[in-house]
């Protein structure tokens, strides 16, 4: 593996240019604006899924230039870890184009996907981005793992341990991490899919907590993944890099998590697309990621299904699909909750744009993460189905279809319908969706069929 590269990164983290974080942010935001102009990148709300290869390539080049100029900001040392253009391109060339996730008959191969690629997407699910309670967490996980079209499971986050609030860096974080890993392991076993890839245990916020979740017997195995996070934008620290070191040593899957903010340092859709490409390059150069989880989040709406969010995903996906062979996952993050049609329409928009523009699937993070237990396996099933039905669509098809889906939720952007918690939409004994929730699912599915999707 590449522990020698990690040694080099540590050197750069201690010797790179010193910058106060505020100065880094200000310089970054100014440069993004310049690059957007320089490369002629323009958001067009009338074409949410542009079919303009040159535009996608310009977004990539702008992102590459941004990353080469700024590198990664190390919060631990207040220094920039810089890479030359040649280094970035070489590291990109070395990055994996396919990765085996999970083990045995439950293993799946997740591949780089191209634009309008007929290759089916790999579907990740679980309560990722939505908090769960100790009581319902095992059932929520099972509801996702048992879905036939779900390939991988995210263990999500529970904020208490035996009722006591978990504080990061404390014994309760260690206990919570180990418990959640064991619960996820048990969920995939109960679903009859013991080798299914588990893509992280989200409760620990420290490297120690992540390490505690790793246990080949009852927790995470080397065929599972741990998230190595970036802080917005283009920032890292020693805790994150320590995760990389641990994953190198146990042979675990390194998952690069980025959460670029639409409306944040990148500004509007154009700048956010540019910095999102740069974020992916950070994941390649710094974390040597096996795959990349793109969790775009709107600053105000805390979702990524608004028009600018859809456009940004479309361009970032195409930019990376056309100019790299890295494996990308779009995290469908929605403002609505279970038991609502809005949630399903948001999921549909995210699944279509992601599938057509080169991503694999992850979802759904619901209610903007605001509501505990507001997440179920049914929306994961729906995303996977819509994704399958979107194979073969062109970007023009997607661009025509999504505006017809958006009226299903766009009116609630400022006042989202957060829906109902798990026990109100699922039978907690059989772990099956209740009739009312299923009825909405069938209704939206039928509507999408009428719009031309082969569901």
């Amino acid at each position: 593996m590449r522990t020698t590269w990690l040694v080099e990164i540590m050197k750069r983290a201690q010797s790179g240019p010193f910058m106060k974080e505020k100065d880094f942010e200000l310089a970054l935001t100014k440069r993004i604006r310049e690059l957007v102009k320089e490369y002629g990148i323009q958001y067009n709300p009338a074409v949410l899924v542009p079919a303009d290869d040159d535009l996608a390539d310009r977004v990539f080049q702008a992102g590459l230039q941004l990353f080469v100029e700024f590198g990664a900001y190390c919060q631990s040392t207040e220094r920039c870890i810089r890479f030359s253009r040649d280094e970035v391109l070489e590291l990109l060339a070395q990055a994996p184009a396919a990765v085996t996730l999970g083990t045995g008959k439950d293993a799946v191969v997740m591949r780089h996907r191209g634009v309008e690629d007929p290759t089916p997407t790999v579907m990740h699910s679980g309560p990722t981005g939505t908090p769960a309670s100790e009581r319902y967490h095992p059932l929520i996980l099972l509801s996702c793992a048992q879905e036939p079209l779900v390939d991988c499971l995210g263990a999500g986050s529970v904020s208490t341990y035996l009722g006591e609030t978990i504080i990061p860096g404390t014994p309760l974080e260690i206990l919570g991490a180990r418990r959640d890993a064991a619960v996820a392991r048990e969920a995939v076993r109960m679903a009859g899919r013991p080798g299914m890839h588990i893509n992280d245990v989200a409760v620990p916020l420290t490297c120690a907590g992540k390490m505690a979740a790793c246990d080949p017997g009852s927790g995470l195995r080397p065929t599972d993944g741990i998230l190595v996070s970036q802080m917005v934008e283009l920032k890292t620290d020693f805790d994150q890099l320590s995760r990389v070191a641990h994953l190198y040593n146990i042979g675990g899957i390194r998952v690069d998590l980025m959460t670029p903010l639409l409306g944040g340092l990148g500004g509007r859709a154009e700048g956010t697309a540019v910095v999102s490409v740069a974020d992916h390059l950070l994941g390649v150069a710094l974390y040597d990621a096996d795959y990349h989880m793109f969790s775009l989040t709107h600053l105000n709406y805390v979702n990524n299904t608004d028009p600018m969010g859809i456009w940004t995903q479309a361009l970032v996906g195409q930019a990376l699909a056309r100019n790299t062979h890295i494996i990308c996952l779009n995290d469908i993050y929605v403002m609505s909750g279970p038991g609502t049609k809005e949630l399903l329409y948001e999921c549909a928009a995210g699944a279509i744009v992601g599938t057509v523009c080169g991503f694999n699937m992850q979802g759904a993070g619901t209610t903007g993460g605001f509501k505990t237990d507001h997440t179920t396996g049914l929306e994961a099933r729906f995303i996977a189905e819509v994704s399958r039905a979107s194979l073969g669509l062109t970007r023009q098809d997607a661009s025509a279809l999504i505006p017809q889906i958006m009226p299903g939720y766009i009116g609630t952007l400022k006042n989202p319908n957060r829906g109902l918690p798990f026990p109100e939409v699922y039978d907690v004994t059989t772990v099956q969706p209740k009739e009312e929730w299923l009825a909405l699912y069938y209704e939206v599915k039928e509507h999408l069929r009428q719009l031309g999707l082969r569901l």
């Binding site: 504080i167 340092l265 993460g369 605001f370």
Partner: protein, 217 residues
């Protein structure tokens, strides 16, 4: 001297556009022309920054515009405050606020926006950054003779540190000296009342309004 219309318009425009160089040049030109620096702050800077804050709140502009306007305002303020001090007068800051993201939490973009908005409204902001211990909040409040203490947390796992920090103020007998306001992704009004905060704000503009209201109460 009253503010000439051309100075008023050009300064407001430069601030809105986040053009620090242009804003600084207009401010220096105004000072050279004996324009009252306090009037420039009260009649041009604060209303313009409030206008920018409203645009941000309404989603018309985003963080970059806010940051650039903040930078321009800071550049202008340095000159104007110096000029006011040279006249032996005092600036009229509404108050001093300590801001930070609580221990264990490293998500600070929301807090940074809140800091910019408070600065825009003339507050003296002592920004402690992220991952701030309870004792650091207490020390900063005492050292800077703060009026307000604002703390935030994005995650449910770090939220208890808000409660712990308020508890430390209480234990040290300092609770009544400062108004404590809270916010962040996982914080709700109900929870803020439960932990004994003086107020909760859902967003940056709300935080400034809350701060002003508490200080005027």
């Amino acid at each position: 001297m009253n503010i000439p219309d051309t100075i008023r318009e050009r300064l407001a425009q430069a601030l809105k556009e986040g053009d620090a160089e242009a804003a600084e040049a207009v401010a220096l030109e105004a000072l050279a022309a004996q324009v009252d620096p306090l009037a420039l702050i009260q009649e041009v800077m604060i209303p313009t920054l409030e206008e920018v804050g409203v645009l941000f709140q309404e989603g018309e502009i985003f963080v970059p515009e806010l940051l650039l306007t903040g930078e321009a305002a800071e550049r202008v303020s340095q000159h104007l405050e110096k000029a006011i001090a040279a006249q032996g007068r005092a600036t009229t800051s509404p108050g001093v606020i300590i801001l930070g993201v609580v221990k264990g939490d490293i998500h600070d973009i929301g807090k940074n926006i809140v800091a910019t908005m408070f600065r825009a409204h003339g507050f003296k902001v002592v920004d402690l950054g992220r991952d701030v211990t309870p004792s650091a909040f207490v020390e900063a409040a005492q050292t800077n003779q703060a009026d307000l203490v604002g703390m935030s947390s994005l995650m449910t796992t770090t939220r208890p540190m808000i409660k712990n920090t308020i508890a430390l103020f209480q234990e040290l007998g300092l609770r009544s000296k400062y108004k404590i306001i809270v916010g962040g992704g996982c914080v709700t009004r109900e929870w803020s009342e439960l932990v004994g905060a003086d107020g909760y704000a859902e967003d940056a503009a709300g935080a400034v309004e809350l701060g002003k209201r508490l200080l005027n109460a």
